[in-house]
Symmetry: D2
Subunit: 258 residues, 4 copies
Amino acid sequence: MPDSPSSPVTRIARHTREAIYVREANLVDDLIGKLTFTEMIYFQLMGRRPTAAQTRILDAVLVTLMEHGLTPSVIATRMVYDSCPEAIQAAVAAGLLAVGSTFVGTMEGCAALIEEIRAAPEGEAARARAIAERHRGAKLPLPGFGHPLHKPDDPRSPRLLQLAEDAGLAGNHIRALRALAAQVDSVYGRHITINATGAVAALLGEIEIPPAVMRGIAVVSRSAGLVGHIREEQLDPAARHMWRLIDEQLPYRADPAE
Amino acid sequence: MPDSPSSPVTRIARHTREAIYVREANLVDDLIGKLTFTEMIYFQLMGRRPTAAQTRILDAVLVTLMEHGLTPSVIATRMVYDSCPEAIQAAVAAGLLAVGSTFVGTMEGCAALIEEIRAAPEGEAARARAIAERHRGAKLPLPGFGHPLHKPDDPRSPRLLQLAEDAGLAGNHIRALRALAAQVDSVYGRHITINATGAVAALLGEIEIPPAVMRGIAVVSRSAGLVGHIREEQLDPAARHMWRLIDEQLPYRADPAE
Amino acid sequence: MPDSPSSPVTRIARHTREAIYVREANLVDDLIGKLTFTEMIYFQLMGRRPTAAQTRILDAVLVTLMEHGLTPSVIATRMVYDSCPEAIQAAVAAGLLAVGSTFVGTMEGCAALIEEIRAAPEGEAARARAIAERHRGAKLPLPGFGHPLHKPDDPRSPRLLQLAEDAGLAGNHIRALRALAAQVDSVYGRHITINATGAVAALLGEIEIPPAVMRGIAVVSRSAGLVGHIREEQLDPAARHMWRLIDEQLPYRADPAE
Amino acid sequence: MPDSPSSPVTRIARHTREAIYVREANLVDDLIGKLTFTEMIYFQLMGRRPTAAQTRILDAVLVTLMEHGLTPSVIATRMVYDSCPEAIQAAVAAGLLAVGSTFVGTMEGCAALIEEIRAAPEGEAARARAIAERHRGAKLPLPGFGHPLHKPDDPRSPRLLQLAEDAGLAGNHIRALRALAAQVDSVYGRHITINATGAVAALLGEIEIPPAVMRGIAVVSRSAGLVGHIREEQLDPAARHMWRLIDEQLPYRADPAE
């Protein structure tokens, strides 16, 4: 009997008095001390153990996305930590709420373009060119390309792509992304870097993470980054200084409407 | 010149046009492809690379805490995912808000008892006995001990403690926890299990994670667990069924006060 | 000199040692004890005091959206409260994260349709018919119409529309919504109710709340609803029972892929 | 049969196909258009309609707590809004997470002192003096007293206390707070202002809001304040400027430990 919507199940975990099972593996006998955290993340998400190459790529992605200084996400976390130090999970949650469409969400947009190129019956180069022209014509931002700070290239992207190519994965997603990058430079008439979220979209595609949950990988990585900032806030508090900077340097002006 | 409260700094990350540095390591050259995610978590949090033994223990802790079925945290995540599928970071954040004092927070309480035992001038056994008697006398819950489901023993704890002992760490925190466990059984007159948060408190102490940020390790691990549940909700939705169960089986009754 | 993007300001509040000003009104002299909470909400959001009719409508909307039983939002709040009772703001935040696109977000979609009808050069009825046909043809959900439980009519909608008509507002948004409702019944060949979010979209339009921030009104109202559920959880705990229901009645099944 | 823990109920709301009931009142017939939002908040929370005096005081409290400029809470909201503009509930949630122990939580601490004074068998003045001496001796912060900015007096407090006295409430909580204030000035040898959270604690006590849920009133009020800041961010974006201020003016320094 198929699982109808009226009788859903969970396939992730069950427990008895003596044991906990995650996807049929015994947590104590088969997972603790046997899998790295990265392998366990893949196992929890995908229902199967990763290969060594998949683990290597997932590690690289998780290391890449953890930290980029005093970002909006970090600022939100530090504001909440200072206001509620007894519940550090709330500070992490506040920062994770900033892992949204503006920055990280471009990963999914880039993954969709990669899928579109890979599925194009007319060939990858032709579709890549069409995508570049379509975005340029409509003055749309091209997800996965460009970086406000890192020029001419986001240093993370070539490293990530090289790692994936060296790891011996199929390489279809990376090839599609490189095809797009070539057409982007041609159509826009200047070099536009593949940024880190673009490279990550290709790498997560290579290791079979579905686009609909790619942002979750960023969320896990960022959660660790934010815990690091909470620890720094415990040792060297900066939140009050941040607040003072904003309070003093962002002036009030009377609303002309009143 | 010392850093006064009026001139705080960050010691975590900086960036230039060409590079990103995390704690003076070049992200691209020194970290991506060189460190596992677990090593990077330790590096981000502690400002130094972990030893192989520390990495092994941190991996074991992160694997242990990720998943325990349809917990309140998972239920919160699934409710929010169903209501707002376009922002999965919000669903993860909602679940993380449940990583609070009731369940995971006992880790910090147990770490404090371990510290108390280790620092006791009268000897560890004497202080362990005093702690057990103090909690029993005041009918206080003993953080890190007991489990509503897993009896007689939480299966995760012996595995975790054994792993740490095999890893060749100093063992001071584990010895203090074992001393407490022995006195607890004696004072209460029955066996009370060291639970997973108790064992984790000892292990994180062994690898020098400060108690004030231990909960953050659980938050990182749980964030990955919650992403797995979001993926399951995408494939096999259960949130509406959970809602219906509660709506149908938790009856309304008129308030006697009205 | 115009405010350039590089020199932003705030127009909401400022403070001195002796006073706090909100949009040039003295909080102590002009607002506390002078404005109701509802009037203050409008003042904070819009930068001007509401008329009596606007206040009456905003009150009706805020009363309407507060409570609808054990919804996903309430379930999330109760799960987090039970896990972290010392930080009730976290429990409210978790529940508010469920005020997303699935349920409340249809308000904005309906507001967009109302705007489209009002701006149509070919006349409101013609555009309303085109909208109904467009949604029916594409089998798209029609935001603001239909309700899974309340049939044939969502009881809140006629009451809200009547209140707004009685309040002496211009009525343009309500007229457009009623025009759409008439065409919907005609095009679909059956009566489909205007639901509460549809009526609220029209009412908030009447009192000049911009669609981009309409969801915020629901958030404020729901926050009060959730505090009520936290209070009930303090007096008559139900979260553990909800958890048990789900744990017992949502079965585990092994993943066929493993 | 009493409600055992194993058969919990909800007393808040129920619904049929035709109607929604909140605490036995018909939402459509009895509440929408009949109660103000403030009256509905009290009804939802307390299970009974407020008196006119109670409504007046609750309005004053809700108006008072809504807005105080670019606070940590507002900064968190603006950071998240800029990163995820499609889900404004997430931005509000992030800001509410900052309604924690550091600032607003002192309300509950002050309410506990008021309760202690009111219940003291030796008389209110004696207990108030003992409390002041106890806090001064232990160098503990005195919840509800002092303000970093507003000196010599928080302007909100005398206004709130006066309003409550004029409203004809019993006045027991206010009398206890005033008794404490008198002893504080005497014991500390200087005037220390009753701050807004102190006055609010007394007012909410007067209208019978239990201390365990007082913070929820602040959460509701702040949620409206935060929606106002989201609207300003839509019209006059400032989040990027805040980010730039912090990124530029909070310097990186190498960790001496590395």
